[in-house]
Symmetry: C2
Subunit: 173 residues, 2 copies
DNA sequence: CACAATTAAGTTGTGCACAACTAAAGGGTA
DNA sequence: TACCCTTTAGTTGTGCACAACTTAATTGTG
């Protein structure tokens, strides 16, 4: 049941691109395919982790925050945001929910009253044991080998860097 | 300014994996890197499109919906959701906003009163011209060549299929 | 035909992401 | 010291995503 457009061949699906530059319509079609794929992949990934994390009670973003805290220990909100690429507008309510769940505490720093230090509670630290199985399940479900996962990670990281640079460097675009 | 853990070597960053299976801690670290990268890449992509789409007034998900409608024309909400991998819980309010913006109309189908057909308005169809420049700007900002973009698209699509299959096939996980 | 099961769309509630803004603390310089 | 500027969190408002549920129309089967 092909749902292909009946008008023209589609270089993005045939894998053959004509030597002349693609038309605006062809670019829109490629854009559709690439954007859809990335957007859908991101949400599929979220869905997988939602499922795998179910019995830990964590959401996917909360799991990401816990991964940082498990690995590096307590740190200011600011630094956590740098790791997670999130600002306080997202982190403040996220951390508030995690505090309500008993996973972390937040305390104003004594040295710098502007800064708030995020610490794991005993419960939060203990949750690491229950999350031990998560990465393996996720990698298995992704159908990627370890090597492939590492390579994909590097590639995607370069992509992010390029996108952020484009956004930051040229205010025009 | 390495922020590496001081305890063990990190196969995910050194690019060398020991022959023995990775420890649970190493898997958590790899998981952190891969999840972060994918999640951050997705949001960086969103951010780029948010910027590039600014003067069209479209959000990124709205642009994705418009891409489908521009390419394939009117269709039921159900089918639009299949293209976009979105259910009515997301699509209903999204389409309502797009209708308020004058981009689409929604009409109950006469043949099947359960179904709602989504159609572009003249204004919505005309917006395609103003969006002609979007894909090129996006691809340039991503630092990908056309070939690379196509290949990445295929790879990411396979990943999504694997994830969805894992979610659907085994209710255990 | 009658009635249960299915399907399509919408609604409700929760959480994430981000822009724009506010509040408070810290740092630098005239 | 007094003032301004920067930094750090937090708040507000909007939109997306999804689970769970509701409503209404259609289909299938006895």
């Amino acid at each position: 049941m092909s749902r292909q457009s009946d008008r023209t061949a589609d270089p993005a699906t045939t894998g053959r691109t004509a030597p002349e530059p693609p038309s605006a319509d062809e670019l829109l079609r490629l854009d559709r395919q690439l954007c859809f794929s990335l957007h859908a992949a991101s949400r599929a990934f979220d869905g997988l982790y939602r499922r795998v994390l179910r019995d830990t009670g964590l959401t996917y973003p909360q799991y990401l925050a816990m991964l940082v805290l498990w690995e590096y220990g307590e740190m200011p909100v600011k630094r956590l945001g740098e790791y997670l690429r999130l600002d306080s507008g997202t982190l403040s309510p996220l951390l508030k929910r995690m505090q309500s769940a008993g996973l972390v505490r937040r305390e104003r720093s004594a040295q710098d009253e502007r800064s708030v230090t995020v610490r794991l509670t005993a419960e939060g630290a203990a949750l690491k044991e229950r999350a031990q199985g998560v990465p393996l399940k996720a990698i298995e479900a992704s159908g990627l080998g370890l090597e492939e996962a590492v390579e994909l990670q590097a590639r995607v990281r370069r992509l992010t860097a390029a996108l952020d640079a484009a956004l930051a460097d040229e205010e025009k675009l």
